[in-house]
Symmetry: C2
C-alpha cells in the first residue's frame, strides 16, 4: 500500500509542484472541492484592488478605453481558448453558464431547423447538471423540440438517430466524474446528422480539451471551478467558426451589436463570437477570472494541460487505490469510472449498506477535520444505481499527493470512530 | 447671476453634504458622469477585499452558507427595493439589464397573450437606450409581436390603443434626460388594456421611484450608474406581485428553481421574484454593488430619495441658469426639458451652428480640464430635433454646487479659447 512517505516523495519529484505557490490556501485545509469553487490565486486580491482603486476609483469612465475594459471579455476569452483548443477570437467570456447555454441551444436549434428540418429532439443525460436540463427544457419548448433524457451512457448511441437535432452533454459528469469521449461522440453525432453542444464546466482547466480537434459545434463553460475565477465568476461560450454567422442571438444586447457606440435603434449583430456578448461586461469579476485563468496558463512551459492531466490521473489513481485499500472494508465503494480515460479530475465514493444513508454526515465530519469535499444525494428509489455520493475534486495545480493520503486517512478515522453520527453532522445546510 | 461664492454658501448649508465623504473621489476631477458610471464608495475596496481574502480565500465553499452568499441577490435586491418603491422580496439582483429586460418582456408577452390575445404591439421610443430596443426586437420576433417606435413623447398617447400589448419605456431618457410621468403613463396604459415595463437605469438612486404607487407591472434597472456598484455591476429586476406566478421564465437556470439543491432534472420555478434568478450569483460584483446601494440608503435619515431629488433639482437648475447666462452667447443651448418635473438628474447641452459639430471635441477638452461629462451623437439628418449632445449627470450624493459653477466656467473657457479645435480633442475613442 502507498505510504505517506511515498506521497511525500512524489510531491518532491512533482515537476508541477511550484504551481501550488500561486495560491493562498487556508492553513489546515485539505481542499478537494476545486470542482465546485476553485481556490484563491495570490494575484487576485491585488489585481481586483487595482481595478477598484485605480481603474474605477481614479480613472473612472475613461478606463473603458485606457484600461481596456471594453476588450476584457475577448481578452480573457482568448486566454481560455488556449486551454480548450479553440482558435483566437472564437471564444468570449460573458454572463453565466446557464445564460450561455441558452444562447448556444437557440443557435443550434436554428441551424438544425435550417439544415435538417425534420429533426426535433435534443438528447441529454438525466444526470447532467440540472441547470443544463432546465435551460434545454426551455429552449425545446420555444422551438417545438422535445428534450429526451437517457438514463445511462450506454443508451447514447441508440439516441443518435434520424430524429436527433442536438446532443447536449457535459463532458465530465458533475455527479460521477464520468468523462465522455468528446471526439467519438461528436463524430458519431455528425455522422447521424446532428449538432453537439459540450458543457466544459468540469473540463476547462481540469483536463486537455480540443474543441477544434474534436470538431465540436458549440461549447460553454464555467469560470469559478477549475478556472479559479471566484464565486459566480463569468462563464464562457464558444461556437465553431462555421456556425458563427448562421444564427440570430435572442439575447441581443448592445455589447453583441456590430457598432454599440453608434447607438442605433436597430440590432445588427457583430461578426463572429462577439454577438454572444449581451450586456455591459462585469469588469471586477472578469479581472478576477483573468487571474484564475493565468494560474493555468502558468503551466504552459511545463507541458500545460497535458502535464496537469498526467498529474490529475496520478492523484485520482492514488486516491482510488488508497480508498479501497484503507476503507474498502468499512463499506467505501468507488462510484466513478475505474478507467482513468473515462474519468475527469474527480473521484466519487459511496457507502454500502448499512451506511448508505451516512454520506452526508460523513462529508460533514470530514469537513470538520479540514478535508473539504462535498455530497450529492442519490436517487432514494435506486440507490444501487444512483447512490448518495461523496465527491472529491483533484486540482493538479495545487493538490498534493500527501493531501490524497491524508484525506483517506481522515475518511478511515471518521468511519472507524463513527463520529459522523454526531447530531451536528446531520443538520442539513441550505447549500450542499 | 449665481457667483462661485453663492455656490460655496449653498454647499455649506447643504444638509446632505456629508454624504459626499462616503466616496473616494479623484483629486482635481469634477465628475459629472455618474449617470454612466458611478464613483467608488470608500467602503467598497475593503468589503471586496474581505470577500476575496476571507470569504473566498479562507472559508471557500462554506461561504455559500456561512457568509450568506446564496441570499445575496435577494438581500441586495431588498435594499434596492427601498429606493424604488418595491415591497420586500419583490425585487432581485441578477445578470445584466439587457438579460433582465429579456425576462420581463417574455413574462409580459405571455401575460398579455393570456389576458388580451388580440394585442401584439410593443411600443417604445426610438431614442430609448439601444439595448432595450434590441432586446424588444428579439422578444417581439419570438412572440409574433411587432415593435413600434415613437419619435417623440407626444406620439405616446395615440400609441396607447387597442393593439398595444406592452409599453416599454426608460423612465429617464438616456440622451435627453427627459423624465416620463410613470404614474400617468402606467394608468393610461392600463386603461388602454396594456402592460408597462419601466427601465430605471437613470432613475434608481437618482430620483424617487414608486413602482407600487404607480401600479407598474415590471421594472429593470442598472447597478453601475447612480447605484455606484462598479463597472458592469449586476442589474436588478422587479415584477408586481400580481404577475409573479403568471409566467414561465425562459432563462430557467437553477437559481430560479424552487429547490436548486435537490438537483432534480425537471424545472419547477421558485415562488415569486426568485424565478428571475438564473445562474450562480456573481458574489464579488454583488458585494461591490451592496456597498454602492448602501451609499444611497445612508441618506434615509436625512429624507432619503426625496431629499436627494430636491438637491438634484437645485443642482440642475443652477447648471442650466449658469450655462445660459455664461455660455448662451457662445452658442450653448439646453437640450433637456426646462421643467424640472420632466427632467431626470442630468442636463444635456448642445451647440448651435456653426459649432453644431464641435460637441465631441468640446467634451474631450472639458475632460482634459478635469470636467468629466460625455457626448452622445445626434442624428446628422435632423440636427435641429436631435442635436449632438454634451451630457452632464448630477449625483446629489457627491456633486457640489461649486462643481456646477466650475464646470460651466470651464465650458465657457473651452469655447472662448477654442482649444477644442486641437487635433487631440478630435480623435474618436472606441468607447464614448
Amino acid at each position: 500500500m502507498i505510504t505517506r512517505q511515498d506521497c511525500e516523495v512524489r510531491d518532491q519529484e512533482d515537476p508541477l509542484f511550484e504551481l501550488r505557490h500561486q495560491f493562498d490556501l487556508p492553513p489546515g485545509i485539505n481542499y478537494l472541492d476545486g470542482n465546485s469553487l476553485g481556490v484563491l490565486p495570490r494575484a487576485t486580491a491585488a489585481r481586483v484592488q487595482e481595478v477598484i482603486a485605480r481603474e474605477w476609483g481614479m480613472d473612472l469612465i475613461k478606463s473603458w478605453n485606457t484600461a481596456g475594459w471594453i476588450d476584457l471579455p475577448r481578452k480573457v476569452g482568448n486566454k481560455i481558448a488556449r486551454l480548450v483548443g479553440a482558435g483566437p477570437d472564437e471564444l468570449v467570456t460573458a454572463d453565466s453558464t446557464s445564460v450561455n447555454l441558452y444562447k448556444v441551444l437557440h443557435a443550434a436549434a436554428q441551424i438544425s431547423k435550417a439544415d435538417a428540418p425534420g429533426r426535433r429532439v435534443i438528447v441529454s443525460e438525466r444526470s447532467n447538471f440540472p441547470t443544463d436540463l432546465y435551460i434545454a427544457e426551455s429552449v425545446a419548448r420555444q422551438h417545438g423540440f422535445t428534450l429526451k433524457l437517457v438514463d445511462t451512457v450506454d443508451e447514447i448511441p441508440a439516441a443518435l438517430n434520424a430524429e436527433l437535432a442536438i446532443l447536449m452533454l457535459t463532458e465530465v459528469n458533475y455527479r460521477t466524474g464520468y468523462r465522455h469521449d468528446m471526439k467519438a461522440l461528436t463524430a458519431a453525432s455528425h455522422a447521424a446528422g446532428a449538432l453537439v453542444i459540450w458543457d466544459l464546466a468540469h473540463s476547462a482547466g481540469a483536463l486537455p480539451v480540443d474543441l477544434k480537434g474534436a470538431d465540436a459545434d458549440f461549447a460553454v463553460g464555467c469560470g469559478y471551478k477549475y478556472l479559479n475565477g471566484g464565486p459566480g465568476a463569468p462563464a464562457f461560450v464558444w461556437s465553431h467558426p462555421r456556425h458563427a454567422e448562421r444564427f440570430w442571438q435572442p439575447l441581443s444586447g448592445w455589447m453583441g451589436h456590430a457598432a454599440p457606440f453608434q447607438f442605433t435603434p436597430d440590432y445588427r449583430p457583430a461578426a463572429g463570437i462577439t454577438r454572444y456578448q449581451c450586456g455591459t461586461p462585469a469588469i471586477l469579476a472578469l479581472s478576477a477570472l483573468e487571474c484564475g485563468v493565468d494560474t493555468l496558463l502558468a503551466a504552459e512551459p511545463m507541458g500545460g494541460m497535458d502535464a496537469l492531466r498526467k498529474k490529475s490521473v496520478a492523484l485520482t489513481e492514488a486516491f482510488i487505490a488508497l480508498a479501497e485499500a484503507r476503507c474498502g472494508e468499512q463499506g467505501v465503494r468507488l462510484s466513478s469510472p475505474r478507467d482513468a480515460n473515462q474519468r475527469g479530475s474527480q473521484v466519487c465514493l459511496s457507502l454500502a449498506a448499512p451506511l448508505h444513508e451516512a454520506g452526508y454526515a460523513v462529508v460533514k465530519a470530514l469537513i470538520a477535520r479540514g478535508v473539504i469535499g462535498d455530497y450529492r444525494a442519490g436517487d432514494p428509489q435506486r440507490l444501487d444505481e444512483f447512490p448518495h455520493i461523496l465527491r472529491f475534486g483533484f486540482t493538479p495545480l495545487y493538490t498534493r499527493f500527501v493531501d490524497v493520503w491524508d484525506a483517506i486517512e481522515h475518511l478511515h478515522q471518521v468511519l472507524q470512530t463513527e463520529e459522523w453520527r454526531e447530531p451536528r453532522f446531520n443538520q442539513q445546510d441550505a447549500v450542499t
